[in-house]
Symmetry: C2
Subunit: 239 residues, 2 copies
Amino acid sequence: MNTVYANSANVAERRLAPPSLAISNVIFALRPSESSGRPTLWLPLVRRIREPYKGMWALPGGPLQHDESLQDAASRNLRDTTGLAPQYLEQLYAFGGLHRSPAQRVVSIVYWALVRPTEAALADESENVRWFRADKLSELAFDHNAIVDYALWRLRNKMAYGSIAYHLLGEFFTLAQVREVYEAVLDRQLDPANFRRQIKGTPEIEETGEYLQGGKHRPPRLYRFTGTPGLGPDNRSTP
Amino acid sequence: MNTVYANSANVAERRLAPPSLAISNVIFALRPSESSGRPTLWLPLVRRIREPYKGMWALPGGPLQHDESLQDAASRNLRDTTGLAPQYLEQLYAFGGLHRSPAQRVVSIVYWALVRPTEAALADESENVRWFRADKLSELAFDHNAIVDYALWRLRNKMAYGSIAYHLLGEFFTLAQVREVYEAVLDRQLDPANFRRQIKGTPEIEETGEYLQGGKHRPPRLYRFTGTPGLGPDNRSTP
DNA sequence: TTAGTTTTAGTCACTTTGACTTTAACTAAT
DNA sequence: ATTAGTTAAAGTCAAAGTGACTAAAACTAA
């Protein structure tokens, strides 16, 4: 039942504050690694400016406003903290352990997002907002390391099945670029020829007449993704 | 404090109150269909005894207590309302649309559960708690029809990949019984020979020396499931 | 004893997958 | 201008997996 049980709670329980509700975001984007130059996964974090965990890095997030849905809250927070409008946004999980935050009980509904590299390059960065490599994070505030781990697990999972990699790329891309996304996320090399065969088998990938010029070698053909984002219960309107 | 808002009779004030947090459960179990006798999916619903949606059927659920995790709250509610201790319990989704409940904003964190038929048979049933066929539900309270639809989608999805069907069966089962589970959930016939080949290929299925006696035909061998439940972020301790 | 039914094993064509080879098309160096 | 080097793109081949089907084995009921 979804009704509020405020009346049925006994006095002792009523004195305790109800858990507060917050939204957090795990935002993935590709950036070239400083060392190899190959694309790798990065995510933006914000520095906490108050207790608890003051000074530590944490996932962007904030309280849920009364007039916005969960998804809207995630979108807004994304825009507010990083200036990003994600290409892909999906609910990850609701974290509600008892001791996630000292003193106050917080239930965090976490979303995960994918943004294109062009957008990620424009993202606000400042003293208190910075991008980090997703696989080389230091200790974060709260349980945010575990949350990022789970988001990475979901990303790898969805990548292996669904067609999600394209949301990390621009509108036009080469098949080698798609392969680099897979290699970055799955963290292993893939055979170029076999990978190409598989990708070309998916109907959501469309050949364009264009070729990527300016490279050092044979110019690769450009492709376009014509599919739609995934289908959670909130956005099943797009079939 | 929550009582300030909850006791307020003013709807406008309640709109501004922080959303209240509730837990709901979609509980699946197999029961023989009245018509065909073949196993089909059923779930327990509770009748609402107060507004809103008074008199209508709804998913079991209730508020989140201050001293229990989300998963614990789901377990407890399951036990309280139906007397069940599920074989499988996993978070489904957090539903937080603005108008899910009239007057008050409610965010529901929904869990879904699988229970064995032996347990399901023992479940409490009363004037206000009854089991219904999952594919023949009437109009439920709130957005609970959509929630059940999504839970069904997840169940079918997980069934197609992971080894989850066994949580709807007892400790020992025949391969034909496993096939019946798949047929009930996926709602299509499967070739017995090919299905058997596939299931026998999974390492989590163990042959026992026992055979199911008392049937009308050749006695089938009994098997046992040796795998572990799925791995959400909350229960990744079992690898 | 026989007919009927389910369990269990096996066959065969077709598809998919991983490893590998070959050719095409371009740039950079000689 | 030619050649070496590199990537793009297509193709080959064997192994593994899948769907449709056949057939034998093992039981009950008539």
